[in-house]
């Protein structure tokens, strides 16, 4: 274990960049990771290119309502006459943004708190860990639901609230990793040399411990997308944006007759979360002793 970590950290000294390339290489080699990357690339590609694609205005209500999939409307139209494929593709932007921002917020909070708890230990660790426990125990989805129900369904509020309720997992993972990494020789050495704690944290500890946290963050993106979909299903999504959850919610009353409204964004949502799960899982597995086996024999 220690050997592998040293190898990884040594390569970090060469450059974070090459390390990232290394990781990506590993993901591509793993069939699940590769699939995930492809799915994500396609969907986010569609989302990014949305304004340039030959699809109709996603807000326009000009078209005939509740049309099944056809040549003019590949995914059909909804109950107001809006084109579904257009909404689904723009929905990729919205849902992925929600996921990334929410997971990002959760990640930053989690990494900071986890690192402090793991590195300094003692009372600070105790306090932060209790704090983390409390948040782990409060049912996050319902807390988000209550707050959105009370304060209104604003997309930005939703992003922030999801971020604020899902950080504990990352914190815990980060803490566990930091607790391991801080015992490494080179960290001790840096301390002995008199390097400030902050420098140690930023240069050695965090980069050394961060991979599982990153993996978890990627999984959290998927989780955030599902939470937003759940909020939208209960009617609390932001009606100004066609997130996938929102489109599913809008299509639900018509599901018996106009199944396409709910199905296509549903497929995109599931595929995206699937892709993210594959990638995150792949990252996680890269850290398991399977690597140890290959270096040993």
């Amino acid at each position: 274990m220690a050997k592998t970590k040293v190898i990884t950290i040594m390569s970090k000294k060469i450059g974070i960049f090459s390390n990232i390339l290394n990781i990506i290489q590993n993901i591509i080699n793993d069939k699940y990771g590769f699939t995930g990357l492809v799915i994500l690339a396609v969907i986010s590609g569609l989302g990014i290119l949305a304004p340039y694609l030959p699809i109709p205005d996603y807000n326009s209500i000009e078209f005939p309502r509740l049309m099944p999939p056809s040549e003019q409307h590949i995914f059909g139209t909804d109950y107001l006459g809006r084109d579904i494929i257009s909404r689904t593709i723009w929905g990729a932007r919205i849902s992925l943004s929600v996921g990334i921002v929410a997971a990002g917020i959760a990640s930053i909070i989690g990494i900071i708190l986890g690192t402090i708890a793991g590195y300094y230990g003692g009372l600070l660790d105790n306090i932060i860990s209790r704090f983390t426990d409390i948040f782990l125990v409060i049912p996050g989805f319902f807390l988000a639901l209550t707050i959105v129900a009370i304060y209104g369904s604003n997309l930005y509020l939703i992003m922030i609230i999801i971020g604020l309720t899902t950080w504990p997992a990352t914190a815990r993972i980060m803490r566990a990793q930091v607790m391991q990494v801080k015992e490494f020789l080179y960290v001790e050495a840096a301390k002995a040399l008199g390097t400030s704690n902050l420098r140690i944290l930023i240069k050695y500890v965090i980069p050394g411990a961060i991979q599982p946290a990153i993996a978890n963050t990627i999984l959290q993106i998927g989780n955030a997308i599902i939470i937003e979909a759940g909020l939208s299903y209960l009617g609390l999504g932001d009606p100004n944006f066609p997130s996938w959850g929102r489109i599913i919610y809008e299509g639900q009353p018509y599901i018996a007759s106009a199944w396409w409204i709910t199905l296509f964004p549903g497929i995109f949502l599931v595929l995206t979360v699937l892709g993210l799960s594959f990638i995150g899982d792949s990252l996680n597995r890269m850290l398991t002793p399977k690597i140890k086996v290959s270096t040993k024999i």
Binding site: Y79, N240, Y254, S257
Partner: protein
């Protein structure tokens, strides 16, 4: 009822709203023209077929079983079976007798005398008398029941009981709309012998047994209520109008409209009391054995402009917005054509009070553009208009949750985008909406629906200066004056003139913009008959007392035997059923966990 004040966005509430409105229209019509009421004798229930168990797919849980103490729309249809009112409204909003078989109104419309039916008993056998009516009315006053304001309890002088079957209600001022309100909502007669005990603080004291096991005089008796699941009622054999033809009514509570519709179509229910999406109506109608009937109702969606907002305080801006809205498109897309473009400033369904000469701005985007240009907002490159100082013309459009409201708001957002106005739709859950829009008046544009009946006096509660629901902050003293005068004007012709004038003024000021007049759906299976909409003049709104089932046992003149499917499921049985199943599951879990622990233990040694 709630439609008057706030409108929950449930489908059912729409249905109730619509029904209410229809009722009120006829009430207004009847009430204002007659001084001494003529009454039809209550026809007793006679059945061609007996037997049957009606299942109503219902949209929500009742809050309690006191139908007069708070706004409780989910309770209303259930309460209409358990309780009776003094008088009721039929599907055309005519007043029909219930517990009061006849009544007289004084010439100045301030004294009302009711003569009560004689052979009425409560479900527990106790006889019904005028004491019960007095207790109910006085409680509405003392405990601030739902109808406190509408029944003008402040001006109530006295409720007297000269004998067991006569009630005299005296007001200090003329109150022409009294009968209409009395027949409407929150006026179910409660059993005095149960409620009126000194140990109870008020009529919602938790220790009152009738709050969870209600006792009424109505056609159906309470059997059980499993929260979140169902309410079961069984026929009241001693009902004063005669024994109901069917044995049982069950309300199966399915809040989700899709699930409710699917359950209904799958045969789980006979009457659908959860408004489905309008796009499904043709499909429902063409389902064999199922019928959809429709009635226009005087419920309407309308927009409120916040007049305190500097942008909207300018009439030209309000007109521009009105010209940009295509209300025909709203009806076609949001209601699938099942609805009407709103006309005038008061629902046309209340015919006598509706002023047809008042014309609302027609859809004319060119005019809208012209007005906006005139106001100095130029279209930018992104299609939106900007003020001279560079700020974008953005308005918040605050609505409450619900598929219909959201659909309308989305369409309007698009329509206003075409003329360059940026609209941000803000959806709030109904209580939060009421708090923000009605109480705090923190909004730019808001939208709500609701009936404006039964009497145009309702306009005072909605649009009058200082009224709670007057979220636009509309205060035109002339308008207010007219409404006040009309409220206590006994002469129907003069009242009408006052209300017509008020509508003209409001149309000129345009603080509110009516959008769509709604339609109610009655969705049921053809094997059931005797619904209130089929029996005008006889059956009260929502009352199922005369429902019969064509697959029941035919009633011949000789035999009187009635098949009863009287397996009533007691609460304990359902709970037991769940608990037992669960116990089995738990035992299974324990066994599995034990096995696993054993394995682990072995591995440890």
């Amino acid at each position: 009822m709630i439609k008057l004040i706030k409108i929950p966005s449930n489908y059912l509430s729409k249905l109730v709203t619509i029904i209410m409105i229809i009722l009120f229209i006829s009430i207004i019509f009847t009430v204002s023209h007659v001084n001494a009421q003529s009454q039809e004798a209550i026809s007793t229930i006679s059945c061609q077929y007996k037997g049957g168990s009606l299942v109503v797919i219902h949209w929500g849980d009742p809050k309690s079983f006191n139908p007069d103490s708070q706004v409780d729309d989910a309770l209303f249809i259930i309460a209409s079976q358990i309780f009776n009112k003094l008088i009721n409204l039929d599907v055309n909003y005519n007043i029909i007798p219930e517990l009061a078989t006849s009544w007289e109104v004084s010439a100045n419309a301030s004294i009302f005398t009711f003569h009560l039916a004689h052979n009425v008993t409560w479900h527990d056998g106790y006889p019904f008398t005028s004491k019960d009516v007095r207790y109910t009315l006085e409680s509405i006053k003392n405990y601030k029941g739902v109808m406190y304001g509408f029944l003008k309890m402040d001006s109530l002088v006295s409720v007297q009981t000269p004998d067991n079957y006569t009630i005299v209600v005296k007001y200090s001022q003329p109150f022409p709309a009294f009968l209409g309100f009395l027949a409407w909502y929150g006026t179910f007669i409660l059993p005095e012998h149960i409620f009126n005990k000194t140990q109870y603080k008020d009529w919602m004291d938790p220790s009152i047994p009738a709050l969870t096991k209600p006792i009424g005089t109505g056609p159906f008796k309470f059997v059980e209520y499993v929260k979140g699941s169902h309410v079961v009622l069984e026929a009241n054999n001693d009902y004063f109008k005669g024994k109901p033809c069917i044995n049982r009514v069950t309300f199966q509570i399915i809040p989700d409209p899709t699930a409710a519709l699917q359950a209904f179509l799958a045969g789980q229910g006979d009457l659908l009391n959860n408004r489905p999406p309008t796009t499904e109506i043709p499909k429902i109608n063409s389902t064999p054995g199922v019928i959809v009937q429709m009635r226009p109702v005087p419920s309407r969606w309308y927009i409120a402009y916040n007049l305190l907002n500097p942008l909207l305080s300018n009439l030209k801006m309000r007109l521009a917005i009105a010209y940009a809205i295509n209300r025909t498109e709203l009806v076609q897309k949001a209601e699938s054509g099942y609805g009407f473009v709103a006309r005038g400033m008061y629902p046309p369904a209340i015919q006598w009070a509706f002023n047809p000469n008042v014309i609302l701005p027609e859809y004319n985007p060119a005019k809208a553009d012209a007005l906006l240009d005139e106001l100095g907002y130029k279209k930018g490159s992104d299609g939106y208009r900007y003020a001279p100082d560079g700020t974008k013309l953005t308005l918040r459009f605050t609505i409450f949750q619900g598929a219909e409201a959201e659909a309308i708001a989305t369409i309007i957002k698009e329509q206003l985008r075409k003329v360059g106005i940026d609209v941000k739709v803000e959806v709030l859950e109904i209580a939060a909406w009421e708090n923000k829009v009605v109480k705090q008046r923190d909004f730019d544009l808001a939208m709500l629906d609701g009936f404006q009946g039964p009497d145009p006096d309702n306009m005072r509660s909605r649009f009058g200066p200082g009224a709670y629901l007057n979220m636009a902050n509309y205060s035109n003293p002339v308008f207010g004056d007219l409404l006040n005068k009309a409220a206590s004007e006994p002469d129907p012709q003069k009242r009408k003139e006052l209300y017509w004038k008020a509508q003209e003024i409001m149309a000129n000021d345009l603080p509110y913009l009516p959008l769509v007049d709604l339609v109610a759906f009655f969705i049921y299976r053809t094997e059931w008959h005797g619904f209130y909409w089929q029996l005008p003049g006889i059956a009260g709104l929502n009352v199922l007392e005369r429902v019969w089932w064509e697959k029941g046992t035919p009633v011949t003149t000789t035999t009187i035997s009635i098949p009863t499917q009287s397996t009533s499921v007691t609460p304990s049985q359902v709970q037991q059923g769940i608990s037992t199943t669960m116990i089995i599951a738990v035992v299974g879990v324990i066994i599995i966990v034990a096995i696993i622990l054993l394995i682990i233990r072995r591995r440890g040694s």
